[in-house]
């Protein structure tokens, strides 16, 4: 939601300080290869990514729309919840043309404290290894 509404700074705040966010492709994962398209291994790197998008990088101007589900719980205990969630991500240009940009799944570890959940790690495993144009905003 935060990404679709261009609230990237709010999206970063969903993470813990010690966190891991990476975008990998199914092609690499299935071959056991570690290459990443994007990797932030703490929250400061996420902040740097977003700040760079806002001020430095130039990219295709677009709207994002994530369509999520189904969700599958893998493990849960009192404090850590681990689940997988499929996504489709559509991009729409400023002139209103939409395209399927990426499809794949998230593997998420979230820390639950009372009514609050914080993201500990998010791995985006994209089936769409052939990135259309470029990957600027996070998935």
């Amino acid at each position: 939601m935060a990404i679709d509404e261009d609230r990237l700074e709010d999206w970063v705040e969903l993470f813990e300080e010690e966190c891991d966010y990476r975008v990998v492709t199914r092609e690499n994962v299935e071959q056991g290869l570690p290459n990443v398209l994007m990797w932030c291994d703490n929250k400061n790197m996420l902040r740097d990514r977003v700040e760079s998008y806002r001020n430095v990088n130039l990219y295709n101007l677009h709207y994002d729309r994530h369509v999520l589900g189904p969700l599958r719980f893998i493990t849960t205990d009192d404090s850590i919840c681990c689940f997988e969630l499929a996504y489709s991500l559509f991009q729409t240009s400023l002139e209103g043309e939409s395209r399927l940009f990426s499809v794949g799944r998230y593997r998420v570890e979230a820390r639950i404290e009372g009514n609050l959940a914080k993201l500990k790690s998010v791995t985006v495993i994209a089936d769409t290894g052939l990135v259309p144009s470029l990957l600027a905003t996070p998935i």
Binding site: T25, W39, L130, S133
Partner: protein, 417 residues
């Protein structure tokens, strides 16, 4: 028949935009360049280390299998069954004693020879192939393969120069620099850019754009035109290398040079500086090196991220950039991690590369209607082509077009080479 191209100048300082949009030009490029005497980058030797290993690749828009036979020799041949034209290998890579087409199960050796086909002698004396059917004569078209320090090149032409001459000392030397130790493949990335493949080839030869389009470079001081560096070309000016040496300018020099641009030299700092940490691992001290090999290959080092890239034309309006990211076999876990963190800089989501996709796509969009209009390629000078010890240049673009025009048979009168 050669196409008519009205080059306004013989030094390629004007390049007609329609060359990125014309179907006939594209078909001719596939024939005269990719199936002609150029050496195309195929893949890295490290991707097929064992006997029986194969992987699929593209030479222009021709699907190709690169394989290693039992004796260890490397072969490349067209991935198209001789029988009815099906793709013989459909997976990206694998290991097999023989390659079998799915359609009628025709069998090929890893050297690309047709070795057998079902019901060749018919069934119960009926049907089958004619007695004089010669399997060897119909084997798929082979490429000559050359292995330059672990980087594999292929050509369809008997007339191609020896690879050492094609790459020159420039090319073989720089490949040796990148592949001096055994490498380890870290993975792949792919990007489909909606623009003609030559716009990507130009982009790689345009040092001028690097620190302007990719503001990240300048803002955070990874690479600035004020650093020591330059462009080098081979003698024929068809290949080139943009390069820079780490920490060879001062903040004051850079501030003065970029005063009139949008760059924000002082305003921003990374919170996590490990992204830009450079561990010097080459005797020459370069932190940026991007040698590009006509028509479709390049190696790229930005700090400690290392990769080979292949340009795969996909029709006149699109191409794929296929990137193979690697490290060295003797890297420890910490170094591999560092290379992967550095990989945030390059690739489809790279801090200093994502803009290329956008720039190329907006050129393709805007030039479709350009008529006879031409691109201006004068930064760094006109006329004769030469190496430059500075980086405010796009001369290697003129070198690219000069060799392109030679292979296409469309050089203007008195053309420079």
């Amino acid at each position: 028949m050669n196409p008519e191209i009205a080059w306004p100048r013989n030094d390629y300082s004007r390049v007609p935009f329609w060359l990125h949009h014309d179907e006939k030009i594209y078909e001719l490029e596939m024939e005269r360049i990719f199936r002609g005497p150029a050496w195309s980058y195929l893949c890295l030797e490290a991707e097929i280390p064992n006997p029986g290993d194969y992987r699929t690749t593209w030479v222009g828009d021709t699907p190709v299998i690169v394989s290693r036979d039992k004796a260890g020799a490397i072969h490349a041949f067209v991935n198209r069954c001789s029988h009815r034209g099906a793709m013989i290998v459909r997976s990206l890579r694998g290991n097999a004693e023989r390659l079998v087409c799915l359609y009628h199960r025709w069998c090929y050796s890893s050297a690309g020879e047709l070795t057998g086909l079902p019901f060749r002698r018919g069934l119960k004396g009926e049907g089958g192939m004619p007695q004089d059917f010669d399997m060897k004569a119909v084997s798929p078209r082979k490429l000559q393969v050359a292995n330059c320090h672990g980087m594999l090149f292929g050509t369809f032409s008997e007339r191609a120069e020896p690879i050492e001459d094609y790459l020159g000392e420039f090319g073989t030397g720089i490949i040796r620099r990148f592949l001096s130790r055994p490498i380890r493949i870290l993975g792949y990335s792919r990007q489909r850019i909606a623009g003609n493949w030559k716009l990507y080839a130009e982009n790689l030869r345009d040092t001028y754009h690097a620190s302007l389009l990719h503001e990240f470079f300048v803002t955070y001081g990874v690479d600035r035109a004020t650093q020591k560096g330059g462009v080098k070309m081979d003698e024929r000016h068809r290949h080139n290398m943009n390069h820079a040496y780490a920490a060879t300018d001062t903040q004051e020099e850079a501030r003065a040079a970029y005063a009139g641009t949008a760059a924000r030299l002082d305003r921003m700092q990374l919170r996590d500086k490990k992204l830009l940490e450079f561990r010097n691992e080459f005797p020459d001290g370069m932190n940026l090196a991007a040698p590009t090999f006509f028509p479709n290959g390049l190696l790229i080092q930005i700090n400690n991220s290392l990769a080979a890239r292949q340009i795969r034309p996909q029709g006149v309006n699109a191409h794929e950039v296929f990137q193979t990211v690697f490290g060295y076999a003797d890297d420890d876990e910490a170094m591999t991690r560092h290379r992967l963190i550095s990989a945030n800089l390059v690739g489809p989501a790279g801090f200093v590369s994502m803009e290329d996709g956008e720039a190329i796509e907006v050129v393709q969009k805007a030039t479709r209607s350009a008529g006879d209009a031409c691109a201006i390629v004068e930064m760094g000078g006109r006329g004769e082509l030469r190496d430059l010890a500075h980086r405010v240049t796009e001369s290697p673009i003129r070198g690219f077009w000069s060799y392109w025009a030679e292979l296409m048979g469309v050089e203007p009168a008195g053309a420079i080479r």
